[in-house]
Structures are given as C-alpha cells and as structure tokens.
Symmetry: C2
Subunit: 208 residues, 2 copies
DNA sequence: ACATGTGAACTGCTTCACAGCG
DNA sequence: CGCTGTGAAGCAGTTCACATGT
C-alpha cells in the first residue's frame, strides 16, 4: 500500500465526524460535494482521499453514509478497542483521563501513572493513580497500545523510553519537549505554547 | 512580504526554544548545522526558514545566539505582551489557566469565563471566573488579543462569534468542533481525539 | 577555509478536468 | 445525466549545490 499523507488521515477523521452527524440526521447518501462543504475542502480532495483505500461510492449518486462510516472506522483502526495509559496525573493528565471523547471512540484508558507519592492512590474518574515504578510490570497485564504523556518537559524523554520499553507502539506527547523514539513507534506532539506562538505570529504579520 | 508557510513558523518556535537552551548554557554562537541537529531537520532548512526574514548569520562563523534569539522573538511577535481570555472553566480550561508555559512567554491571561453559574465566582490560580455574559462588556477594558476556547463542542461556534464580535483577532480552539471565523481572524484547532485517531491509523497500517 | 544565503531541482500534496459508469 | 475515480497539471515546501562573503 502507498504511503498516506498525514493531512489525508486528518481529513478522514473529519469526514468520520461529519458522517456521524449525517447518520444522526438520517441522511442515507452523501456526495463528495456535500462532505467537502462540511469540512472546508473540495470535492476532488474528498474523492482523492478516499480513493487511496478503494472505491466506496456509486457514480451518479454518491456515498452510502452507513457504508462509508464503517469503511472509515476500519481504515482508521477504530473498529476495535485500543488500550491507553496516561502518564502524569497533574492538571492536564487528570483532565485527559476524564475527557469523554476518548472512551467514546474506543480508546480505553487502562491505567493512570504518576511518580509523585502524594498523588499515587488517589482516584480520578474511577481510576486509581498508580506509581510510575509499577508501569513496566503492569503493562504485561494491561498491554497498552498507546501512551499519553502529560509530564513535565524534563521528565518526558525518560518516560518515553520507559513506555517504549514496556511495549507501547504509539505516543501522544503533551510535554513541551521534542521526543526521540525508534521509528517503529508512532509519535504525535501537541504543544499548546507553539500553537499560541503561531497565533502571535499571525497577529503580528497578517494585519497591520 | 512573502507568505510564510505554517510549517516554517512552527520550526521558528522550535529554534527559539533551542536557542534559549543554548543561551542558558552560555553558548555564544551556533551554526545552522547545530540548530538542525537539535530539531530533527537539516541545516538547509534552518537557513531557508531564517532567510525569509533577513540575513542574520555571519558567513564562515554561524549565528550569534543572543542576536538570533532577539530576532526570533521579534518575528514571532513575542517581544510584547498579548492579552488572552480563556472561555470555559471546566477541566481543560482550568488546566490551561494554570499552565505556566503561557505566562512565561508573554501571554497574559486577563480573564476566565464560564456560563455555568455554579462555577462563576470561584477562583482558579488567582483568577476569578466571570460569567460569560460579561465577556463583551469587559473586553472593552481588557482588550483581549487571543481567545482560548475550552467549551463543549455544541457551544463552540456561538462562543467564537461572541469573542470575534468582542474584538478578538485570534482563537485557539480546544473544542472538538470545526469553527467558522472571518478570514481576518487567525484560528488554530487543537483536537486531541483527532491526534489519537492518527495514532490508531498508524498502528493499524504501519506494522502488521 | 568555512558556513551562510539562495536560485534551481526535486518531491509530494492539491487541484483540475474528464473518461467511465451507474 | 450526474457524480465518482483518477491520470495529468499545477503549486508549495524541501533539499541540493554552489557562489558569496568574512
């Protein structure tokens, strides 16, 4: 299979959301034009994105909403449950643990870790915070697929090494620190300060 | 001035961080090669990125760390303070309000709003939560440049319209909802569920 | 001699435009 | 006839390679 651009995958996620909405409104068929209008893209882009994975539409008619929905879930790997561990039970880690959007799409949070003895043992949304030192051993049982890092920048690389050694194959990093991981591990960085700086740049350079 | 790619701006933010680190370690001069090694990019990329804004280096030598630092701050618009309002004082909004990374770079949080009367009046990190209904009037006083939205998806567009009408010219949106704003307003979307789905895709399609 | 700054080549994503099929 | 699926064209971002300046 050909390599798929990250931008394409992002759009597939968006199409999935729009289709869920169309399904809720009992719309059975949708054209690439209508899907495009909902995101801010073009019908050609929609068709091209989907064409990497097969031919799901009917010429002259469009796409069956339930069928395309099922296909997209399958393509994105959302047709089964993923096990997620969150490392760092500070404000952000705790907020993520409680975020409904995750469980809703089959991301099951199997454990929450923190190295601070003060926090260990407390409960967040029905999940007891476990000591960081237990992560490796408990991973044999939980078999996490994805680790979400919400730790201080200074600890991030060390934690990343630990979760990778524990068998995690994907990392979502909220720590403001560029991580190094083997290229067998998928990595996404979310850096709120960098987003704000992008806005600062836009404010400084766009207008005025 | 030529249009600058978003990817370029992101890298400038990274260079800024690396330079701060070099400065802390009292390194006075740095080559594009050394900067590139720190991010995961190439020296040509570093030089090209900087070349959009001028010639800051000395041939045969490299870049002066303090000088390039000052230039980057200026380019990114970080040489003065921005006023930020946060809308939504739930878990994520509260976590953002307390996040040190913002104030550290000159983003001053001037107000925190919520429409829930239960939350209004409480204090988060020294900031009293104000009722959403007060946003427009208080904006005459606070003059916010940037709004951070941490509200439910269903409220996001309505809130965006309100803050735009109140004079905000940049929005950082954490709500899982694609926003429509006039093209005079800069917009960044942070969607954690979409990042996770990108990892799910990678796990499903990379290996196996 | 060495590292920058930059046109030129290249790579890859997006848009176009139309043939193909229901 | 309408809308998909897709090669081809167009465009934007990255990499190359070297002339230039210190």
């Amino acid at each position: 299979m050909k390599r798929i651009a990250e931008s394409t995958v992002r759009r597939l996620s968006l199409y999935l959301r729009f289709l869920e909405d169309f399904e809720k409104r009992s719309i059975g068929t949708i054209s690439s034009d209508e899907l495009a209008a909902r995101g801010s893209t073009t019908s050609a882009q929609v068709r091209k994105d989907l064409s990497f994975f097969g031919s799901f539409g009917k010429r002259g008619l469009g796409y069956s909403v339930p069928e395309l929905l099922a296909r997209l879930r399958q393509i994105l790997g959302l047709d089964h449950e993923w096990h997620v561990v969150i490392v760092g039970a500070g404000k952000i880690g705790a907020a993520l643990a409680q975020y409904r959007g995750f469980s809703q799409r089959g991301f099951r949070i199997v454990a929450l870790y923190d190295s601070d003895p003060e926090k260990v043992g407390r409960t967040v949304d029905g999940l007891q915070i476990r000591p960081m030192s237990a992560l490796t051993a408990e991973s044999h049982h939980h078999r996490p697929d994805i680790a979400v890092l919400a730790v201080p920048a200074t600890a991030a690389q060390e934690v990343a090494d630990i979760v990778v050694a524990a068998g995690v194959r994907a990392i979502l990093n909220f720590a403001p620190q560029q991580l190094q991981v083997p290229d067998t591990v998928a990595l996404k960085e979310v850096n709120m300060a960098i987003e704000l700086e992008g806005l600062s740049f836009a404010l400084t350079n766009l207008r005025m």
